[in-house]
Amino acid sequence: MRRPEPLAWPPAGVAGARTGARRSPGRLLLQRFLRHRLALASGLLLLGLVAAALAAPLVAMALGLDANAVDLLDRFGPPSAAHPLGTDELGRDVLLRLLYGGRVSLAVGLLGALAAALIGTVIGLLAGYAGGRTDAALMRLTDAVIALPLLPLLIVLAALDYSKLGLPGGLMRSEQGSLYVILMIVALVGWTTVARLVRGATLSVREHDFVRAARALGAGPAWIMGRHILPNVLSPIIVATTLSVGNIVLTESVLSFLGLGIQPPLPSWGNMLTNAQDTIWQAPALAIWPGLMIFVTVIAFNFLGDGLQDALDPRSGQH
């Protein structure tokens, strides 16, 4: 007996399976997605954010500034021509730091979600396809990870000494070390939803005629999983991954709040927001900007995921 997946996705990603490969043309998908105006707006907004974050070095050049350039004589500066959003507690340009922080936060969110999806897909496919004991063991593992109280565990993982585990000490000691640690943590605990989705979908696809036929023709498991099953479970994976990006961005901010997030001078929205706590009376803007960015990003990813779900779920056309 299995429970349905704790995600607002119709339990079986089977509908498209009848056709084996994806037949629904991309245009139809696009049309359905475009109907979802909020999702569309969110998608555009996120594209804009990503573009702006990627363009951070260009902006830095245009403004003639360095995101880490400290100027003790110009702390908490108001918005000006030189600093469009003013300066922070060390006289650094807030706009630039927001852009660079966006790079980090978005990278953590996107890469973390991708890594988690990858792990989840592999485990889900294995469990669903192999069945039997492998399935039972993998699903117990999933249960165990879900049952883990997440936050305390994140703390343990963030404080671990990775060189003891034989991981490259140089990597973890680099300026981006905290970034890798967080990515790894997020991936290690975030894969369960996707794993369950994929397993469920795999279970139902496995017994379809076209899969049986492929197996009868001597196709190996890897081939069947990759060629026949994966395309059919792709849409729930995409939706779940999109929805999880926002969560990961929030997780990063919480880790920053606990002092276990991205380490300075590398800015992230999370650590900018955390640092602004103490000066909230003196310079509320310092807290408002990163808070707003986090809020907007997370909500946009949620709307986007919502829209994708409607677009990718063929039955949503029924109402």
Binding site: N68, A69, V70, L72, L73, R75, E89, L90, A158, A159, D161, R173, S174, E175, G177, S178, L258, G259, L260, Q263, P264, P265, N275, Q277, D278, T279, I280, W281, Q282
Partner: protein
Amino acid sequence: MQRLMALCVALAALWGGISAAQAKDELVIGITQFPATFHPNIESMAAKSYILDMAQRPFTTYDADWQLVCMLCTELPTLENGKAVLEPGPNGSQGMALTYSIRPDAAWGDGTPITTQDVQFTYELGRHPQSGVSNAEMYRRITKLDLIDERSFVMHIDRVTFDYNGINDFRLVPAHLERPIFAADPAAYRTRTSFDRDPTNPGLYFGPYRISQVASGDYVVLEPNPRWAGKAPFFRKIVVRVIENTAALEANLLSGGIDMIAGELGLSVDQALAFEHRHGERFQIVYKPALFFEHIDLNLANPILADRRVRQALMYGIDRELLTKKLFEGRQEVATGPVSPLDWIYAADVPRYAEDLAAAGRLLDDAGWTEQTDGIRHNAKGEPLSLELTTTAGNRTRELVQQVLQAQWRRIGVEVRINNQPARVMFGETLTKRRFPAMVMFAFVSSPENVPRTILHSDQVPSEANGWAGQNYNGYQNPKMDQLLDQIERELDRPKRQALWRQLQQLYAEELPALPLYYRSDVHIWPLWLKGVRPTGHMGYSSLWVEDWRAEGG
């Protein structure tokens, strides 16, 4: 439900209004940490000392003027008054005999008089290997204890030091309550002590207050101890509330949830400055320079840092004056070494390393770091002048300072990579086992005229062989320094000692085993009506004089 809530809100508002109208006879103090234990001799922790100091007293302590005074004793033993006598030590060395008397009016909160039996028991406890007492060094130095009568005793110590008569850490434990528990099973004592199993037992305390209620992690309530024979305390009740998040701590102060924030365990100076700018007129805000030596320890085994010229260049490369002026508005003083400018032994005429980029450049050139590529110096072998700097992650002040330093060093072609770690990782391993490649920023806390033996003596370098003991994390080894430390400790003559201290500070400034940054200040935030609190700036907290605290007009 809604109505009930509305009613509650109204009642609370009413109750708040009434209590505000009354004369203030309650004080609610906010601190940021909850003590792990209330046992005076197990673990050392700021929160415990702060609370316990209202309910217990040490024999001796430094006061707000940094003078050693008697609290539980009647008179400090000195060579002059004859209560301190030189005598041969146990193994041929010179030792001392010190005579102390307990104040005649001292009694535990349950009426039992404090006697030398308590002293004897505390001593036994301290020396027992299984008692769990953390700082056993002091008890080991006491070779013998002679009880003269109910109130007087002679302590024989195995060495002669200038601070021989200070026994600030000798904290009495009530024999009449604790001896049976200890005797039953010494190994289990630390988990069975009344201080933790029955912390509101009046018999455990003898200060102006006694602990009357403990809500673990949340708050501690103190009420006047009727057996206290000294000056009667003003407040009918003192509540110490623990709020770890400093933003929430401030909010509680503003909303009236707490009356004051203790300087010993409260806001950092930069937080307090931001607070003062907006709410300064509603509170008394006192910045008390404290014996918190913020500095950067260097791994002297690192070939780059082993070169003294590089260390000096690093000092010339940073503008500490500007840093303290801008970040702390001059409320924290630039440090020249491990001796505070406020200590009487401070030598002002040692090299101060004011910012001098040209000098820094020359020194680095001399040291062979001549090639500049992408603004970073390299040596002839093509190695970059790149150093890693670690500090406690999440400590906002240190992170700010660290980023300023990083930017400033960049100007002289030194690349600094930041790798911060949670406090428990840094103090638990990286620092204490000397596993940092270059630099670690943190603070040493000390008491007045504290000899920095553990941080500078060559036998205090932590290593596998010595069980990772000592705090000479730099790995600094200099026979001259060792000699000075030994001489200072043994020198009883103040002018002579002062001269030695000067030499030590001079040597430190020249050699730079570590990079001194600044001395931290405690920030006390009090309501306008609170009077009589005297911040000390050292480990003898202001709460040791809690009976002097009062509300104005009360």
